[in-house]
């Protein structure tokens, strides 16, 4: 695998360097920390929404930093959560006195490291809450839903958190709405091929030509199970059926829809998939609200995709519709 690369050990630093050089109109580097923050942060009286995780998932997480979404993103090495020290420094840098909301995918490393940062901030008298993203329906059965990992649905969770903080909600309200956004978001993914980490020669896993992985991880983990390779229309049915079966209580009929490419499955293929998804959603009585199709949470060059449904109530719809301006996502409002 050929990569745009100097030395593998410098990859993260140079990646952040190029990112902030290009997008200084939205973000600035956090001094002495591995992270970026929205231009103008900290803002007095506004809750700071701090996202983060390993890199290799762009636009998650640091591509979603900017007005109306995340206040800051903590950036780890490829597929490796940032340390508690870095999460602490980034949170300190953007604390506007109204409290900090950490929100990130539910992975052991992220949970441990952000918990260390939270503990230090609390010891110093700060007000900190954490909301884990747990949208992957195949990561654990429904009775263990809080143990599920976070994948593409994090996009809607961060959007809700950022919009709530932007309009001046207090920390308890931002936390409650972010939790509700997560509780009403479900994702299912499939993969056709593994990804290769820059500096390495081999992909993290391979998939036989006539097979596919169901229930992918976004760090090059193999799927939860393998299956015969299906045509797109059958993948669409598997995805819609799985998510509809897991609709939250009081789901209502309106859901934001995200078809996410993982890096190696391109836009035209995602449109083919959505051609199968749209009528199935209609048949299930779901009105798709402003569907998004593209790359929102990637896994380097992994081939595969996911479908996310984010069931909207009136509060979440207002947060969904609010303006946002980040390097990777803009909404005019």
């Amino acid at each position: 695998m050929r990569r745009m690369l100097n030395e593998a050990t410098a990859f993260r630093e140079e990646m952040i360097g190029g990112y902030v050089a290009a997008f200084g109109r939205y973000v600035a580097p956090v001094p002495d920390a591995s992270g970026v923050m929205a231009v103008g942060a900290p803002r007095a009286g506004k809750v700071a929404v701090v996202v983060g995780g390993g890199s290799g998932h762009y636009p998650a997480f640091y591509g979603l930093v900017g007005r109306g979404m995340a206040t800051a993103g903590v950036i780890g090495e490829i597929f490796t959560s940032p340390s508690g020290e870095q999460a602490y420094r980034v949170a300190k840098a953007v604390d506007g006195g109204a409290g900090i909301l950490f929100t990130f995918g539910n992975y052991g490393g992220d949970v441990m490291n952000f918990a260390m940062a939270e503990g230090r901030l609390l010891d110093e008298g700060g007000d900190v809450r954490t909301v884990l993203v747990t949208d992957d329906v195949l990561a654990a059965p429904p009775e263990e839903a809080e143990d599920r990992r976070g994948i593409a649905g994090g996009f809607y969770v961060f959007k809700a958190a950022g919009a709530s903080a932007e309009r001046g909600d207090d920390l308890a309200t931002v936390e409650a709405l972010t939790k509700r956004a997560n509780a009403r978001t479900r994702t299912i993914g499939v993969a056709f091929a593994g990804c290769t980490v820059p500096g390495q020669d081999e992909p993290l896993f391979t998939v036989e030509p006539d097979r596919m992985e169901i229930g992918l991880g976004i760090h090059g983990e193999p799927g939860v199970r393998t299956s015969e390779l299906m045509p797109s229309r059958e993948i669409a049915k598997l995805m819609v059926d799985s998510l509809v079966a897991e609709a939250p209580p009081d789901a209502g009929s309106r859901a934001a829809v995200l078809v996410n490419g993982l890096g190696g499955t391109k836009y035209e293929e995602l449109f083919v998939l959505y051609d199968g998804i749209a009528p199935l959603l209609a048949a299930a009585g779901i009105e798709p609200y402003e569907p998004l199709i593209g790359e929102f949470v990637t896994s380097l060059d992994m081939a595969g995709c996911s479908l996310t449904l984010h069931w909207l109530d009136d509060d979440l719809r207002a947060l969904h519709d609010a303006p946002a301006a980040t390097p990777a996502f803009t909404r005019a409002g």
Partner: protein, 216 residues
């Protein structure tokens, strides 16, 4: 047995340097083990963490506990990830326990390893049998304790405990992961030893090498 003084601090620096060399030599193997169920970066993360630990241990002299506490903080920050938090906090907890000891004897070392293991269990919420680094550490510490009760020296107790650690590590091949990213794979996590369990065995073996050379 030695006083808990700056000589002990220099011994801690020697141990850290030896552990770094031992893990560097096995970095690719650790990566391959991790790729079986995870993202293949375990070896790279351990090396990144240990280099920072060795750098942090350099500098002002102190007792072994203070040196290790600094090393643990350096490890956690540089490595990142779950293993960064766990192994760095383990080293740090061992250091803080040793810093309060009167003498660097086998009982103080066993107590420090107890403190380290308690820290890992609190942070990672795993228990022995979950296919994690605890499957190396827990049998090692039990065997070390048994040897201490017979009056063994640190050198002899460590040597007696290492085979138990290795057996514990090997047993992870037949386990289903209960914690960490590998836990999402259920039955598919079976068949490979846990990369973290292997890392801890490499570390404990390297520490034993230095202890043996000191005793000789």
């Amino acid at each position: 047995m030695r006083d808990n003084d700056a000589d002990g601090g220099r011994l801690a620096q020697t141990i850290l340097a030896h552990v770094l060399a031992a893990v560097e030599a096995r970095e690719l193997e650790l990566g391959r083990l991790d790729a079986a169920a995870g993202d293949g970066d375990h070896g790279a993360g351990m090396v990144r963490g240990l280099r920072a630990a060795v750098a942090a241990a350099d500098g002002p002299e102190g007792v072994a506990g203070d040196i290790l506490a600094r090393a643990g903080t350096g490890f956690t920050d540089a490595a990142g990830g779950a293993s960064g938090a766990l192994v760095g906090s383990w080293i740090g907890a061992i250091g803080r326990s040793l810093a309060g000891a009167d003498r660097l004897d086998v009982a103080a070392v066993a107590d420090a390893l107890d403190a380290g293991q308690a820290m890992i269990q609190r942070l990672g919420k795993a228990k022995p049998g979950d296919k994690t680094m605890l499957d190396t550490l827990d049998p090692f510490l039990r065997a070390l304790r048994r040897a201490v009760e017979t009056g063994a020296t640190l050198d002899a107790a460590w040597a007696a405990a290492l085979p138990e650690a290795e057996a514990g590590m090997r047993a992870t091949a037949e386990m289903i992961a209960k914690r960490g990213r590998a836990a999402r794979l259920g039955e598919r996590s079976r068949g490979h030893v846990d990369a973290g369990a292997m890392s801890l065995l490499i570390i404990l073996t390297a520490v034993g090498d230095v202890i043996r050379q000191q005793a000789a």
